[in-house]
Symmetry: C2
Subunit: 154 residues, 2 copies
């Protein structure tokens, strides 16, 4: 750990460790507060973001790409969320193979309630990770990403 291999693995190891720590911390917080997993929150977030700018719908495979999950896992994840009334599924008119997903008002409401919990947990996890020497630089990089360029470059 202190000095495994001075190659690529070091960066990847740090990335992985940081991700794991943040995920488990946020997972606990979201689960306790709203019975949401990180993935579920992520789906809601991605879908609602699209909602803002465009039609507010995602194809299943687009969604699985966005949250980096297999198609089967995405199917089941959407199913669970749909059963809780947080998402809707509807067929694509022009291509009957395609299925769109969209956030329901209930889903949007839950998302907005969960967002501060998510952000707080995120802050805590980042602060904790910053204490570790090998994670600190990556934490800084993540923080820099937050608002890289508020200038609308188009």
């Amino acid at each position: 750990m202190t000095r495994p291999q001075p190659g690529l693995a070091q960066g990847w190891c740090a990335l992985s460790a940081l991700h794991g720590r943040i995920e488990s911390h946020v997972e606990r917080a979201l689960q306790a507060a709203h019975e949401l997993s990180v993935r579920e929150f992520s789906v809601l977030d991605v879908l609602s973001a699209q909602h803002d700018g465009e039609g507010g719908h995602f194809r299943m495979h687009e969604l699985s790409d966005a949250v980096v999950l297999s198609q089967s896992a995405t199917t089941r994840l959407v199913t669970r969320l749909e059963e809780r009334g947080l998402l809707t599924r509807y067929l694509c008119a022009t291509d009957r193979r395609g299925i769109y997903t969209d956030v329901t008002p209930a889903g949007l409401a839950l998302l907005e309630r969960a967002r501060p919990v998510n952000d707080a947990a995120l802050r805590e996890a980042l602060a904790a990770a910053e204490q570790r020497a090998e994670l600190a630089p990556l934490v800084a990089a993540v923080r820099d990403l937050e608002v890289p360029a508020p200038a609308p470059t188009g």
Copy 2:
């Protein structure tokens, strides 16, 4: 995805996406080449690194902390690796509750064969992720971490 929320979530989202993409790519490569999961490789790597500098052993809870896994998952992971002859378990002499784990020569050999596969897959995944605008800066940060201080020892 294009512009979810201009807050903390953006950096975390990028970190999560990058991690997911790298992990699934490396997982496939290691699985195909050596029937190793990313976690298993990680355990072997961490343990062998410790081997270099120190006694070469980890307590279970230290290991679970290093790879960011629950204790139960660590127990089973070590069990699987032990059954394949890649790890050894032995009691701690001074504290009979504690259990140390160490890499066997076979484990070390497999690790060294798997390392180039891991590194190659890592490189590929990073290169692919770099093409995405929202992931590129984080990829750069990870690359920077690789050799932060190449100062030779002594």
